[in-house]
């Protein structure tokens, strides 16, 4: 199964279009109590935020537990163990995490340039994919040094689940007969 990463946002509305929209909204709020209630809810909930499905997150957790024992690892208190023992367990976790990422995602750097190199960001660069830090002033084009290349999931291949599958079970209890 292939899911595209979410990248469609609400379309931008120009300033000139926003003037009649604001005026229209003002009168409609005053005249229409139902519309006013919906706008009030919109302002309160920040409705531009969406709730992601917990199923995919739970599924990924189950995969990380299955192949990398990630939940087992994080549920233990490290203080009682020697570093060598923790290191041994970390190998299991590291190898397993690599396997999960390799099998279920295609991950590529956001920027192909080497870290430390100077790059130029022209006007209209994708602020969702590039974070500006430090002396952030002035206008594009911005010139700066690439401190992290970033990562992007270009493909997601999560397994399909049966209709009745309970995703909240991250690892089944095992009973040996």
């Amino acid at each position: 199964m292939t899911n595209s990463p979410p990248d469609s946002h609400h379309p931008q509305v120009s300033f000139l279009r926003r003037i009649p929209l604001a005026v229209g909204a003002l009168f409609r709020i005053l005249s229409n109590p139902g519309f006013a209630a919906r706008v009030a809810a919109l302002r309160q909930n920040n409705a531009a935020l969406k709730q992601t499905s917990p199923d995919a997150a739970l599924q990924l957790l189950a995969l990380l537990q299955r192949d990398a024992r990630l939940i087992d690892f994080t549920q233990e208190t490290l203080s009682s163990y020697a570093d060598a023992d923790i290191g041994a367990a970390a190998r299991v976790v590291h190898e397993g995490c690599c396997k999960v990422l390799r099998e279920h995602f295609t991950i590529t750097p956001v920027r192909a340039e080497a870290e430390g190199s100077r790059i130029t960001l022209n006007d209209g660069f994708d602020a969702r994919a590039i974070r500006l830090t430090g002396n952030v002033i002035g206008h594009a084009p911005f010139k700066g040094s690439l401190s992290h290349r970033g990562w992007r999931a270009t493909e997601v291949r999560l397994p399909q689940l049966a209709e009745s599958h309970d995703t909240t079970v991250l690892a089944q209890a095992e009973v040996e007969l």
Binding site: A62, F73, E76, D85, I86, A89, L161, A162, S164, H165
Partner: protein, 618 residues
């Protein structure tokens, strides 16, 4: 315009492996000459209860769950929610924890003449409560899964209308070939051809070279294909001839069936490490042994690919949720891997060695006849020694035959199988072979590069289905054995002495597909309603025996007994007890199986002779 004709759109190749299956295909319309458009099917399969994901590999494992073991709907596949068993990755992982419900190595059981392959005998260690399946049924389920996966992905090109090639080890005897074809028919395969795996690997090499192969080989070359898979080792020798200006490929010899593969190597390392852990006072349970085997495989790959690496840490994770507290730390060293894998499985031996074998106890017949000698190079030496004269009668080779040679001298080697991902094993095998060649003052054999070790067989099979349509070079050779039935000599009985036996050649070496041979001279009397049993033999070296020849004497290593075959004449229209005179006819079918038929001399009735005669006896 809708497609109503049944012309295949795809040539599909299926590698029905001991440890995993793959399916590759060639888009016939989009291919032109030696430029082919092909793909590999991503096979949906259960990986956990209620979880389906795709992978190009379908592990050849079948799990038969208890009725209370899984919740409803957790065995559902995209195309079926009625199945009460699992095939593939989930079967493999769950079965490792509950081996009494796991069927594995069904392919090895399919060619085990010591058992009834139609009888429900697998899992072999299952208690009576588990509903067992036959080796045939297990293979059918893998093949049916592949068919359903294809139909789900390609609704525009129904599987039953495509051209299907299923691969088998070159060393499969006629019974195992027939059983594979039977499993495929039971899985709904209509247009079916069988192809030997080493040949498929060579076809893949030809395909990927996109025409360049004609420059890479020359007339007089003898190509040795070494295919070491997860569970079996398979060798073939293919000669290159020039005929009417074209290069021709002839498969001249095959090796014995050897149950020895990459899984044995990982297991050998796991046992070595388990002994070290046991000396430190920890005994591993079967679950930990499995985890250890996985860890050893990864460590082995790292150590074999980098000779400077001295050790690789190995961690056996705890079974309980306390990961840090319960894990066992150990290591695998470079020396251990080298002595176990290189010296154990690829020893640098002399060309004259033979694999050691000891007499089997009676009880071993219950399990699979695993190779007793783990030395792949020793098996190879034995094959080349046995086949020293394989090319003697081949056109263009007579002048090249070195009279002083003690073994057949290959000039090129093609490696196949996941084991050879470790370059050092390729180098060791090639160096050993070239050592033998140098000792007989022959040129070193070169390696044919560019093989895709995991998918070559399926891809080569799909390509073969395509070239069978007349669009490329084909490997010729026909049957790689001559076949014989035993006949008791009609001589006066001597008390205490078994009547001497003669061997009657019923199918000569190199019978091509779609040919038949009939034995007019030799007649058998068959009692109506009673089964006639004949001892059946094969020879991979007696190339000169013609159809109908009666052998009074043969060196014992030249003929191998392949079990018994049986013909039963139904009593319809006859008096039980009557004797009917028949002759034998052998046919190599279009599918690639050998069929023996009993033909009545005084009427046109005929009966099929069964190879898998243990059917119904259990």
């Amino acid at each position: 315009m809708s497609i109503t004709s049944k012309t295949p759109l795809f040539s599909i190749g299926i590698d029905l492996g001991t440890t995993h299956c793959t399916l590759a295909y060639v888009d016939i319309a989009a291919s032109d000459g030696e430029t082919t458009s092909y793909g590999v099917l991503d096979i949906p399969q259960l990986t956990d209860p209620g979880t389906v994901r795709t992978s190009p590999l379908l592990p050849s494992f079948l799990y038969l769950p208890h009725q209370d073991e899984l919740a409803e709907g957790e065995l559902s596949l995209p195309w079926s929610d009625q199945q009460d068993y699992a095939v593939g990755e989930f079967a493999r992982t769950r079965g490792a924890l509950t081996p009494i419900r796991l069927v594995s190595s069904a392919k090895s059981w399919l060619c085990h003449a010591g058992v009834d392959r139609h009888a429900p005998i697998l899992p072999s260690e299952a208690p009576a409560e588990v509903a067992k399946v036959s080796p045939l049924e297990a293979s059918t389920r893998y093949l049916a899964h592949l068919r359903a996966a294809w139909d789900a992905a390609h609704p525009e090109a129904p599987f039953e209308q495509q051209d299907i090639t299923v691969t088998i080890p070159a060393s499969f005897d006629p019974a195992a070939r027939e059983l594979t074809a039977e499993a495929a028919r039971a899985a709904g395969y209509v247009s079916l051809t069988l192809l030997e795996e080493p040949q498929a690997a060579l076809y893949n090499w030809i395909q990927t070279s996109a025409g360049r192969w004609r420059k890479d080989v020359k007339p007089g070359d003898i190509i040795l294909v070494i295919d070491v898979g997860g569970g079996t080792s398979d060798f073939s020798l293919i000669a290159v001839l020039a005929r009417e200006g074209n290069l021709e490929l002839h498969r001249v010899a095959i090796g014995d069936h050897i149950l020895l593969g990459g899984d044995n190597m990982d297991l050998a390392l796991a046992h070595l490490v388990a002994r070290k852990v046991a000396q430190a006072g920890t005994t591993l349970d079967p679950w930990q042994m499995r985890a250890l085997t996985y860890a050893c495989r990864a460590a082995k790959e790292a150590l074999l690919s980098d000779a400077d690496l001295k050790t690789q840490p190995i961690v056996v994770p705890s079974r309980g949720s306390k990961l840090i507290a319960g894990s066992i730390r150990t290591e695998l060293t470079q020396d251990e891997v080298r002595s176990t894998i290189l010296e154990g499985f690829f020893p640098q031996v002399e060309a004259s060695v033979c694999p050691t074998s000891r007499t089997r106890g009676g009880l071993t017949q219950l399990g699979l006849p695993y190779a007793q000698d783990a030395g792949v190079t020793r098996h190879l030496a034995a094959l080349l020694g046995r086949q020293v004269g394989a090319t003697a009668e081949l056109e263009g080779f007579a002048s090249k035959v070195n009279q002083a040679a003690n073994f057949l001298h290959p000039t090129a080697v093609l490696f196949n199988g996941g084991v050879f991902k470790a370059d050092i094993l390729v180098e060791r095998t090639l160096a050993t072979l070239n050592g033998w060649l140098a000792a007989e003052e022959s040129d070193a054999a070169r390696m044919l590069a560019g093989a895709d070790l995991d998918l070559a067989v399926a891809r080569g099979a799909a390509y073969y289905g395509y070239v069978r349509r007349g669009l490329g070079v084909r490997i010729r050779g026909g049957t790689a054995r001559a076949y014989y039935v035993a006949i008791e000599s009609s001589m006066p009985a001597i008390p205490g002495v078994e009547p001497p036996m003669q061997a009657l050649c019923v199918a000569p070496f190199g019978m091509e597909e779609e040919t038949e041979a009939e034995l007019k001279m030799q007649q058998f009397g068959v009692v109506v309603g009673q089964a006639v049993y004949l001892r059946f033999f094969g020879s991979s070296v007696r190339r000169q025996d013609r159809l109908g020849i009666l052998l009074d004497f043969w060196p014992p290593d030249e003929l191998q007994e392949l079990g018994k075959i049986q013909a039963t004449l139904p009593a319809d229209g006859r008096q039980p007890g009557d004797v009917v005179e028949v002759t034998l006819r052998s046919i190599v079918t279009e599918t690639g199986t050998l069929e023996l038929t009993a033909v009545a001399t005084k009427s046109d009735e005929r009966w099929k002779v069964e190879f898998d005669i243990m059917r119904g006896n259990s």
